[in-house]
Symmetry: C2
Subunit: 351 residues, 2 copies
């Protein structure tokens, strides 16, 4: 019988955090690509555009004028998907027609006053200010809402409609689907094994090494064993930390530093401003914040769509939507490529 090799033989892998399977078919990278390519990047974003509603001094859709902010800037999303006061749909009349109330707030956070920078092109202290702003907004909205979802959509390919460096924060009165899955899995793992799932997972990856991308004093970046997107990564603190506000000053500095390294590698991979969606997951908050959430470990997911080049992405369509996620290179191959990339940004190195 042939010996199994992950890079040659398709197989399925289990994601114990989100209770999902992925089909890994690495031999498929050999097929030619004749499908859609993405439009090339608009490389000339002006540093300041008075008509861009995210810029300092600009007027937003609701008539408010932005301050001339110099660091991060947080404000209410003018077109929020979640509003604080929506009435309840009332009890449902049938088990197949269940609706429930959803309340919340949506905010936008600018990372920097300039439109022509991105996180990897910002300085470590500037990124550290973003980390602090993330921790504060989590604390502020978590006082009222059980779930505070911080996420960044970067790049037009990821539906981002504004090139100014920013993220969003959607806080909700309910635990969203993915949060519910992670809650169930982490709770079950803790009760079965007596320690948090992601603490053991991080420790194992440090031993196994082949999926590690970056390590620092306080953080790990790795391509998870069950990654779905070609260059997906998981960012984990080494210490058991449940939520962003718990991070110490040293951990925050180190986070800024490792994020800069990771995002620089991402940009260097295809010499482009690497698109992705990323977001933070931490223990639920709100009125239950005081309960025991020790099974939670804070983490960030990075989901970048590119597969072969700056213009050829992975499409999660057909089989993926109807049956199961499928990937075209192994997580170990992805980690190896990311590890090998320089930690100096290609645009700065050229100078």
């Amino acid at each position: 019988a042939t010996t199994f090799r992950a890079s040659e033989h398709q197989h399925i892998r289990y994601n114990p955090l989100q209770d999902e399977w992925v089909l890994v078919s690495a031999h498929r990278m050999k097929r030619p690509w004749q499908g859609q390519v993405e439009p090339p990047l608009l490389t000339t974003v002006p540093r300041h555009d008075p008509h861009n509603p995210l810029c300092p001094g600009a007027t937003r859709a609701n008539g408010e004028v932005n301050p001339y902010y110099e660091g991060t800037f947080l404000f209410d999303n003018d077109f929020p998907a979640l509003q604080p006061d929506a009435p309840s749909p009332g009890p449902s009349d049938h088990p197949l027609f269940q609706a429930e109330a959803a309340r919340g707030v949506c905010k936008v956070m600018c990372f920097h006053p300039w439109s022509d920078v991105t996180l990897p092109l910002m300085s470590v202290p500037e990124i550290r200010a973003v980390v602090d702003a993330w921790a504060s907004v989590t604390e502020e909205l978590g006082a009222q809402y059980p779930w505070v979802q911080i996420f960044e959509n970067k790049g037009a390919m990821m539906g981002c409609s504004n090139p100014h460096p920013h993220c969003q924060v959607w806080a909700s009165s309910f635990l969203p689907d993915v949060a519910q899955r992670e809650e169930r899995s982490q709770r079950a793992y803790q009760s079965q094994h007596g320690e948090p799932l992601l603490m053991e997972y991080g420790r194992q990856e440090l031993l196994r090494k082949d999926r590690l991308v970056l390590t620092s004093e306080h953080w790990l970046v790795l391509v998870p064993f069950w990654a779905v997107w070609p260059f997906q990564t998981l960012l984990l603190p080494r210490r058991h930390v449940r939520r962003l506000p718990e991070l110490t000053p040293a951990e925050r500095d180190d986070l800024a530093y490792i994020m800069k390294k990771l995002l620089t590698k991402y940009d260097n991979l295809f010499e482009t401003s690497f698109p992705y969606s990323m977001g933070w997951h931490g223990a639920p908050m709100g009125s239950e914040a005081g309960a025991n959430w020790d099974h939670w470990q804070l983490h960030a997911h990075y989901y970048p769509p590119l597969l072969r080049s700056a213009t050829v992405r992975k499409f999660m369509v057909g089989y993926e939507m109807l049956a199961q996620a499928q990937r075209d290179l192994t997580p170990e191959q992805a980690a190896e490529r990311l590890r090998a990339l320089p930690e100096v940004h290609y645009r700065l190195g050229q100078k």
Copy 2:
């Protein structure tokens, strides 16, 4: 207190078939869109291109020459994600690192010898031939594999790399993720309520009417109460049918006819060849085909990405990937728009 109105007040809805929630925020359609628009369609696909590997008489990547087929044409995918003989990864050494064997076959099915037609532009008898070919391939591959996933990626936006009208068939030795979810939900519903989930669901939608798009003697098309994609639909037989091969000749004719109507409405919505991924779900087969699968009801899902126009799509990114699916119009609004559209194709009407 304000009275709840689904089109004004965000709320969450439950998908009992796939055990997922969706956030419905219909008021968000008011926001302006300044993000990425899709490239306009290549409108001039030649009827026959000898270099297109899906065309009659063309040579494929593996050197095989296609016959001069006149109806549908089924062949092995030259770059299959699933192969019949992959060795097993062997037992896993840790609960967080679980991998399993995956075996299967991937086929491609051309719908028609011409590259410049799509299903809605084909005649009802030509579509009926596709239905028959779907039933046969399900029977053939289902003899060996527990899951036979038929799916169509239509349009470059959906990662489809070839304009020739075709679908794919991936059969696997395992029940994919979505199939497992639908299996669990339908089994639990049957054991609790004594009838198949989707039989009761179809009956309820016929009574409630506001999500119906099309009805025929043997079939229903509706926008499910829990739809995620803006114009997502569910296609259901009225009779209890577990799998495609069980369809009677009358049901197959009627399926061809209702598919032509649905896909014509889709094309008419934004006067474009409407992109989507679609696929069939029926009871598992393979060695367990003879077990009791009465809780299953055959159905097809249509997942089209367009939201506002032929070039503005819904991006399932950031919040959707990290937290929960979110939609920008209600399923009832989508059904109403689809119902109101003509059943004659805009390109045929113009003649």
